[in-house]
């Protein structure tokens, strides 16, 4: 019986991994280009409401694309504020988050006729069983049954991301804008368009993450469903030292932490705690991870710093 629970917990953990990893990859592109993106949560919120609307109107593929597009649009606000007007990155990100909560209510009212949620059971992808793995014995196979196709997509996304960042001219320039914008400018590459691109990719992935959450995980939109996961994605980014593969491992950790209160409440040791304390586990894990790792990582050198030089503005 506990093993069966463990299997289901892994399945849930993989879903939450996908949410956190997609948003975390978004944060990675933005921060590697030199723009801190605290607004991931807000871009996810916009992704949830537009994703749910898109799938209701035109199905899940459209839902994911529209959610990603909405995140992209909101991220452009962040890019204009931070790159062009050189507003403090955290101020702008915090404002984006506050504004997104209001926009979520506004658009939910417009799309669903109620400000706080959509009807349940919005259209989603067919779930599938992973061959071989889903027939693992002792309940562990449950971990790989009824999986959303987006979960393997998220894992596989690591390959093009690695290629883009490390093997292309765009990736090299993006990273140089985040490490040393003065040198970037000195070799004749404009920093601002690179940073716009980094933030735009960031918003697209965060919007996609939100749309995935609404369409594939909860199968409805409701207010507050992101539950701070945009910030947990930032924590995963710190834990992963701004590198895609380590970010993936960090997201797996936080994803499974999310699954504990949902499924492992009856597991040994955990079952001794009151339910409300079990629900604190993901947050506590995040705080401990951040506090324990933050001193030992290397953020992009220029992240968070406004760049004043030529090419700093469009």
């Amino acid at each position: 019986m506990p093993l069966l629970d463990l299997g289901v917990a892994i399945a849930i953990g993989l879903r939450y991994f996908t949410i956190i990893y997609l948003a975390g990859l978004g944060g990675l592109f933005s921060e590697r280009s030199g723009i801190v993106n605290i607004g991931l949560e807000g871009m996810m919120i916009i992704g949830t409401v537009f994703g749910a609307w898109g799938t209701l109107e035109w199905g899940p593929v459209a839902g994911l694309l529209i959610g990603a597009g909405a995140g992209l649009v909101l991220s452009l606000v962040h890019a204009i504020a931070t790159v062009t007007f050189r507003v403090d990155h955290i101020v702008s990100g915090v404002v984006i988050n506050v504004v997104a909560i209001g926009m979520g209510r506004f658009f939910a009212q417009t799309f669903f006729g109620q400000a706080t949620q959509s009807d349940p059971s919005i259209p989603h992808f067919d779930k599938f069983d992973v061959p071989l793995l889903s027939s693992l014995p002792a309940g562990l196979g449950r971990a790989f049954e009824g999986m959303s196709p987006m979960v393997p997509v998220a894992f596989l996304l690591t390959i093009p991301v690695l290629f883009l960042l490390n093997r292309t001219r765009f990736g090299l320039r993006l990273r140089s804008a985040g490490e040393n914008p003065e040198a970037t400018t000195a070799v004749g590459v404009r920093v601002a368009p690179l940073r716009y691109a980094g933030v735009a990719i960031s918003g697209t992935l965060a919007g996609l993450s939100g749309a995935f959450l609404a369409i594939e995980v909860n199968e409805l939109y409701h207010e507050g469903q992101t539950q701070g996961m945009g910030f947990i994605a930032l924590a995963a980014l710190i834990l992963g030292n701004w590198k895609p593969v380590s970010l993936m491992l960090g997201s797996l950790l936080f994803g499974f932490a999310q699954a504990i209160p949902l499924r492992l409440g009856d597991a040994p040791v955990i079952s001794l705690m009151p339910e409300q304390f079990i629900r604190m586990i993901p947050y506590v894990v995040t705080i401990i991870a951040i506090a324990g790792f933050v001193g030992r990582v290397n953020p992009p050198a220029a992240a968070g710093r406004a760049y004043e030089g030529a090419g700093g503005t469009l």
């Binding site: 504020a81 007007f85 702008s92 209001g102 701070g228 710190i238 629900r279 705080i287 506090a291």
Partner: protein
């Protein structure tokens, strides 16, 4: 052209005040126009909407009361955000701090019942501040000791606070009254409650009991003045502002950053603790599971709109109170989602942040230019040169 004197005769503070007013005016105008476009898209007259918002918030004494009652918690949460911001930190955890403070204040109101009224109420308010301080202490210590960014840790503390208070309401604090199905505490004795202004002045005729304008509002204004005094008239405030504007030079000037960051964050937490008091002690008189959330995040809007200045915060809280009251008017009068006003608020705060940044940079450029022209005053420069 060459005849234009390069030296400026205006004192610099005129530029600063003028620039700020210009930024504020420009941002409001931009938001009003952008809002008008959205409202127009619903086929409603924007002028009429703006008029109704004003009418609903100001036409009767009870309307003003509602606006100020709404502003009361926002002043405290705006101040909490601002004090941390002045020290260069972001307290996104006011939300969790006031939620924990609701529980500590309720616990004090119930257990210190034996105190006379003039001691009980201050004790309850102090417990609220203490609750906020405790909840702010953890992220403050983590930031100073480990470098964990307060934005991430305070958000996590918010999540923990919700579960903690849910647990407290279900277990130790739950009312012993078997007849009550609601998840709530016992009802406080009336001497723990904050008196309403209407009752004090015998204005119950004009201001109905559903308006929760209490003496906490004047107290919030006093808090604004105290925070102003702290920030701009004391050594501690000077040091807080120094680390906020330039931690490197503050440290070089012999200021210990870490101790100050903790102090500023705890003051922020104490102010945050008072956010929920108007509804707890001025309205309900008990803590129930469906307490109001989101006031801490609203404080971020209030603080940025008020330029993190205590008096600006009082004004922006009242403005947001007016918009909140205006939502009722819009809902009754037009076929327009009242959430439109939330969007309006969002556009306003974004444009205020950008406008102030533009003005700040323009002033900096001017100051640098002024210094440069003074240095090379032997050769007067032409205006055209300056504006390029």
């Amino acid at each position: 052209m060459a005849a234009v004197a390069p030296t400026r005769t205006r004192p610099p503070w005129v530029d600063v005040i003028g620039g700020q007013l210009l930024a504020l005016g420009g941002a409001f105008l931009f938001a009003a126009i952008a809002g008008a476009l959205i409202i127009q898209a619903y086929g409603v007259s924007p002028v009429e909407v703006y008029r109704i918002i004003w009418v609903y918030g100001t036409s009767e004494l009870s309307d003003v009361g509602r606006v100020l009652a709404h502003a009361t918690p926002l002043i405290f949460s705006g101040l909490a955000v601002a004090v941390a911001f002045k020290a260069g930190m972001f307290n996104i955890g006011v939300e969790g701090q006031y939620i924990v403070a609701l529980a500590t204040a309720a616990a004090a109101a119930l257990t210190l019942d034996f105190l006379p009224a003039f001691l009980l109420l201050p004790a309850v308010l102090l417990s609220a501040m203490l609750g906020g301080v405790i909840w702010a202490l953890i992220p403050a210590l983590l930031k100073v000791r480990t470098g964990a960014h307060e934005v991430v840790t305070t958000i996590m503390m918010n999540g923990i606070a919700l579960s903690l208070v849910a647990w407290a309401l279900l277990n130790p604090m739950r009312t012993s009254d078997q007849g009550v199905i609601d998840l709530r505490t016992d009802i406080f004795s009336t001497k723990a409650l904050i008196p309403k202004i209407a009752t004090t002045f015998g204005l119950e005729e004009q201001i109905p009991p559903s308006v929760h304008l209490t003496w906490l509002f004047p107290l919030a204004l006093v808090a604004c003045w105290l925070v102003w005094f702290l920030l701009f008239r004391t050594r501690l405030g000077y040091e807080i502002r120094a680390i906020g504007s330039s931690s490197g030079s503050a440290e070089a000037g012999g200021i210990s950053i870490q101790a100050l960051q903790i102090k500023a964050f705890l003051i922020s937490g104490a102010l945050g603790g008072l956010v929920g008091m108007n509804s707890l002690l001025g309205d309900r008189g008990y803590l129930a599971h469906n307490y109001e959330i989101g006031l801490g995040f609203a404080g971020i809007t209030v603080a940025f709109l008020g330029r993190n200045h205590p008096f600006g915060i009082a004004l922006s809280a009242i403005l947001l109170g007016l918009l909140a009251r205006g939502q009722d008017g819009v809902a009754v009068s037009f076929d327009l989602p009242s959430e439109t006003l939330i969007i309006l608020e969002g556009i306003l705060i974004l444009s205020v942040v950008v406008a102030y940044e533009l003005v700040r940079r323009a002033l900096n450029r001017r100051r640098k230019h002024a210094v440069r022209t003074e240095e090379s005053s032997a050769v007067p420069r032409e205006r055209a040169d300056a504006s390029s």
